[in-house]
């Protein structure tokens, strides 16, 4: 088999490919991300960026305490984030556990959210510690229930032990299960991979194996989507594009709670991967609390005074 003509999928070819990637200097990457964090987004560009960010939100609930009621409420929020203002765009997707997919899909269809995809976390999320059979079944269930996007976790233990072939094979198999029916996002849990060198390697591993998106984190481990981690991933998709002419998406998730955080992410996208990635097709933000802060900032721009959480709905 050949993957983009770059590797044949064997452990040896993966080790060779990943081994010739340039290292990431931590200090330099941190400095670049911090510098981009000083960009000042004002007035017209802020208004544009807030709406873009809203449309990129994968509105997420991933709790043991999730109920159908909670998920339905989230769906309403996804379709009309601000019930008093129809100019607010819908979010990018709803992200739930496998067993909530059907509920979310039905609800979205019922309330005018046919265009909003349901994403399901999969492959024994968040730890990934299960047999391949279970992971495949997990994915299959979600797709059958109507998930159009699969957010799978990689086997971090295998990655850290250097068993790249194992990690790669799992992604390839889940890619096969997804087929044409679902987009595949591959979650690294960068807080467990720790080094930027690992983040870069994992990015290429996932892209070569057929990921449509690479995603930072489950949201269950901190640190998650830090700016330098996202920077390294954006560099990877940029360079992968020049190798293969295929654009892979990036999804930071975890720790992005404020409009300011979101603006920093959009700046990273613009100045690293480029404007082409500034679309929900290629950039998503996994978040829950973020949406309300974006709405409050949007109100501030419209009204000219600061908003209060009392005027945005909880989900």
């Amino acid at each position: 088999m050949s993957f983009y003509g770059l590797v044949d999928g064997s452990e040896k070819s993966l080790k060779t490919f990943l081994g010739q990637l340039s290292g990431v200097d931590q200090v330099g990457a941190d400095a670049r991300a911090a510098m981009l964090g000083t960009r000042s987004i004002k007035t017209t560009s802020k208004r544009w960026a807030i709406d873009m960010a809203i449309s990129m939100v994968d509105l997420t609930t991933l709790e043991g305490a999730d109920t159908p009621g909670k998920v339905r409420a989230l769906c309403s929020k996804a379709v009309r984030p601000d019930p008093t203002d129809s100019t607010v765009p819908s979010v990018g997707a709803i992200c739930v556990y496998n067993d909530m997919v059907a509920i979310a899909r039905t609800q979205l269809d019922a309330i005018g959210g046919k265009n909003i995809p349901v994403a399901a976390v999969s492959t024994a999320f968040p730890s990934g510690r299960a047999s391949m059979e279970v992971k495949i079944q997990d994915t299959q269930d979600a797709i059958n229930a109507g998930a159009a996007e699969i957010d799978m976790v990689i086997d971090r233990g295998a990655f850290l032990a250097g068993n790249y072939g194992l990690v790669f094979d799992e992604i390839v198999k889940i890619r096969e299960v997804c087929g044409d029916r679902a987009h595949l996002k591959v979650i690294f849990e960068t807080g467990e991979l720790v080094t930027y060198d690992n983040v870069r390697k994992a990015s290429y591993l996932a892209m070569l194996a057929g990921a449509d998106f690479i995603k930072t984190s489950t949201g269950k481990v901190a640190p998650a989507a830090t700016p330098p981690v996202v920077l390294v991933m954006l560099e990877a998709v940029r360079d992968f594009y020049s190798m293969t002419q295929r654009r892979i998406g990036v999804k930071p998730a975890g720790g992005i709670r404020t409009t300011k955080d979101a603006m920093k992410q959009l700046v990273l996208v613009k100045e690293t991967a480029g404007e082409e990635w500034l679309t929900p097709q290629l950039f998503r933000i996994g978040a829950s609390a973020l949406l309300n802060d974006l709405l409050m900032q949007r109100m501030k721009i419209a009204d000219g005074y600061y908003a209060s959480p009392n005027y945005v709905t909880i989900d």
């Binding site: 340039s22 290292g23 200090v27 330099g28 960009r39 000042s40 987004i41 959009l266 100045e271 500034l278």
Partner: protein, 482 residues
Amino acid sequence: MTFEYAPALESRSIVEIKSKYGHFIDGKFVPGKKYFPTLNPATEEVLSQISLGTTSDVDKAVAAAQKAYTKTWSKMSGKERGKYLYRIARILQERAREFAVLETLDNGKPIRETRDIDIPLVAAHFFYHAGWADKLDYAGLGHSPQPYGVAGQIIPWNFPLLMLAWKVAPALATGNTVVLKPAETTSLTALLFAEVCQQAELPNGVVNIVTGDGSTGATIVNHPGIHKIAFTGSTEVGKKIARAIASTDKKATLELGGKGANIVFDDAPIDETVEGIVNGIFFNQGHVCCAGSRLILQESVADEVIEKLKVRMTKIRVGDPLDKNTDLGAINSKEQLLKIGELSAVGDAEGAERWSPACSLSEKGYWFAPTIFTGVTQAHRIAQEEIFGPVLSVLTFRTPQEAIEKANNTPFGLSAGIWSEKGSRIFWASQQLKAGVIWANTFNKFDPASPFGGYKESGWGREGGRHGLAAYLKTGKESGAK
């Protein structure tokens, strides 16, 4: 619509610029006789009128400095001197934004740099040296090292207030008093610093500031009441100073030009290397004596690095220095702009290949697009002469020894960069390079605790760190004939 950054202007209302300024002598502002304008190089707007220092002004300043030295400053304990420096550091921190805006207006450098780099480093310099004032016995310069007396200090326009700090903080910490001349085009922050000295209740005459041009500087250098010269500027003027004081007992430190080699090995962390190359040559519009103005690439990665560098250069935001999102500001003066243009034309004529990203430059003010020349060889003038602008010359090498030979093949020796993820190679290269400051996997980093200065025609002595104190203290080594 695409994601364009709307203007994000730092407010200039925080600074109040007077219509004209006198000199600061003996704790007071005294009017000059003749004035010359200082411009905002981004707009050519006249900001204020600056006094042109005369022989008589310099005489008064030196007399005030000598009096302050004899009567007050040399009698005061290091502990008390240090407390004045701490005060100055703290007031600079309190008024940091005001200084940042004023520096940007007068110099043309982006507010992001004055706000995040220049002014914080200025305060850090005073803070660091404040702590030395009562610890000079531990500086490795013998017991109770003594100051020279009155230091004449002449500073350049590229980092106006930072160069002032590099000069004034160690001089005061070691017990000297100073007569300082800021650069002709950038006097305003030095004059605002004079206000800080007043707020800190620094004894009169300890710091004196005489503004003016090269003639005022020459008067300071040649003044018999000056015991020590500290100069940062061109190698040409540095040599003049060296000749002028040759037959005197005056001591001197000189921080002069450079043509820094930035060497990229094939195992470099490429993305961060590209950032470092950009920071090395486009930081402060390339108006940096230690700029990495010669990029020396290992051939096996040259194409990749140049390609990524060009992509990165398209992201450089050239424009209004007061805009918080500006990366590259205005060239400091018309004169400097002409010089950069001339040397770049030489590059074209010598057959090097010029490239700049598309960027629209304002009609008003002095601007130069970020530029690289590829296909440069050692024989090219743009590989030898300091351009002091946002212009990078790119050369290549095949073996590490060749990289070192090319890097050292210059009369300068101020700075160099090494990019490699292999530790032993970094230490090997840093041992071979003849330069006073070597950055590995970074570039253009400054810290008051770190000595700075050059080999060969890049100057004499070091500033900063424990080493920098030696420049302002009589030590056994220096007490002999020079």
